[in-house]
Amino acid sequence: MVIKFQNNDKPVRITGAKDMPPMPAALGSMRQNKTGSWRNVRPVIDYDKCIKCFICWKFCPEPAIKIVDELPVIDYDYCKGCLMCAEECPKDAIGFEKEGK
């Protein structure tokens, strides 16, 4: 019987060989891995300065910047805090704060 691929952000439950396919075939999505916890600094978008050029969205390697209602929105569940978005923003509309104070 085929073990279905679970395409969500929940961990896959495996208790032993019986829950595994014969070969290492994926059973779930890395969405379950909330990489936001890696972050030392948190980029913050100042929407007053944002010109909706989406350069930040374009250069996010996760991708952890979504387009919501025609605005770039950082998904802090996954943003690793590399600050490429802040560096590349042509209007300096992305600042940052230290995490974990």
Partner: protein, 382 residues
């Protein structure tokens, strides 16, 4: 339909009858005839397959793995150095649980360059997770290819079919070609549960830490255990359509034997003749041909040998620093089960002929001597 053909061509026709879909191969003597014939078969449109003429055996196995991962039936053939070059990918195919079937013409490893019969090439791949068959006739090469796919696709383990260079690869024998209609029924198209499919996108073979790797090995062993019965069942089903029976071991005149010779490959065929002659001399000897060494048919072997007084193993291979490999395997099977002295002979390395007289010598030597012996070099010139 009966045809006279070389053992190599029996492998080609076997692949054709199995309707392999992707062939990837690299030439090496004495395998070349297999892939030359398949090139013709594909070029003539007699087989609907893609033939990738790769730049190395390593790539031949990798291409078969890729094709098999998408659900295609994949085939390759090689020998000696080529098989050794594939080593990394043999593990890959087995752990990815892909039912690839490969023909290997048993040839000695270099140096010195030798193109002649010797089992060290395939036995060096014993622990890669492939099922291993040693054929002793051209007919068996063809039949094993068909049975091989059927078994492999059930248990999800690849099959390696080996046979002796020249003694079989280039020797003409009469081979009965089964009707394709019968084979199509016997071997339906491969439909794997897990495969690369854009509608069910998964990764295969990702980083697997200690939480899970161990269990994948456990599952592989379970598949090998299961394969023992599957090989028997699929062999019986094949007998129903062709009249030819195959199992993991093939005993010959072993029922009432006092002493059994344990053999494989073409030496086993010669041993049958030697056994007949020895029997005519009043000596109660038999021949147990080991056809499948992985999965190892321990229970089946014990069933045959349990009553005999002595065993003699003839190995056309050697694990340097210990002894013949079939001999080691047999002794480990006997240990804790029965106490039978085993005399182990090395013979025919690098294609040296092992004649009927040689086999009779070894049998008589064993009949004469009660003491077990781990390593006797038959015919070595000192």
């Amino acid at each position: 339909m009966k045809k006279t053909m070389m053992g190599n061509y029996a492998a080609s026709w076997g692949a054709q009858l199995a309707r392999v879909q992707v062939i990837a191969a690299y030439p090496i003597t004495p395998q070349t005839l297999i892939v030359e014939k398949l090139s013709d078969i594909v070029a003539d449109g007699e087989l609907d397959a893609k033939f990738i003429k790769v730049e190395s055996e390593h790539s031949a196995m990798a291409a078969c793995i890729g094709a098999s991962a998408t659900g295609a039936r994949a085939y390759t053939a090689t020998s000696a150095q080529g098989l050794a070059l594939m080593h990394e990918m043999l593990h890959w195919a087995a752990l990815a649980r892909l039912p690839i079937v490969m023909t290997n013409v048993n040839r000695a490893m270099a140096p010195g360059w030798s193109i002649w019969a010797d089992q060290n090439d395939s036995l060096s791949q014993r622990d890669t997770g492939w099922m291993q068959i040693y054929a002793s006739s051209a007919q068996e090469i063809l039949d094993s290819t068909l049975i091989g796919y059927k078994v492999s696709e059930k248990v999800l383990l690849p099959t390696l079919i080996s046979f002796d260079a020249f003694f079989l690869s280039h020797t003409m024998e009469v081979v009965d070609m089964p009707e394709i209609e019968l084979i199509d029924k016997y071997l339906p198209p491969y439909k794997p549960e897990y495969k690369m499919d854009v509608n069910d996108p998964r990764s295969f073979g990702a980083l697997t830490d200690e939480q899970y790797y161990y269990e994948f090995r456990y599952k592989m062993q379970k598949a090998m255990d299961e394969a023992v019965d599957v090989i028997k069942e699929d062999g019986k089903e094949y007998e129903k359509i062709t009249g030819r029976a195959y199992s993991l071991i093939h005993p010959y005149r072993c029922e009432d034997a006092d002493m059994i010779l344990v053999t494989s490959g073409t030496i086993a065929e010669t041993t049958n003749v030697a056994v007949d002659e020895l029997r005519a001399e009043g000596k109660k000897v038999g021949n147990l041909r080991i056809r499948v060494i992985r999965p190892y048919p321990k229970k089946e072997i014990l069933e045959v040998v349990k009553g005999v007084k002595k065993l003699a193993v003839i190995d056309r291979n050697i694990s340097p620093g210990y002894s013949g490999i079939f001999s080691q395997e047999l002794k480990s099977a006997l240990y804790n089960e029965v106490d039978i002295p085993v005399r182990s002979y090395i013979a025919g390395l690098g294609g040296r002929d092992v004649k009927i007289e040689d086999i009779k010598d070894m049998a008589n030597d064993t009949l004469k001597n009660d003491a077990p012996n781990d390593l006797i070099w038959k015919g070595v010139k000192i």
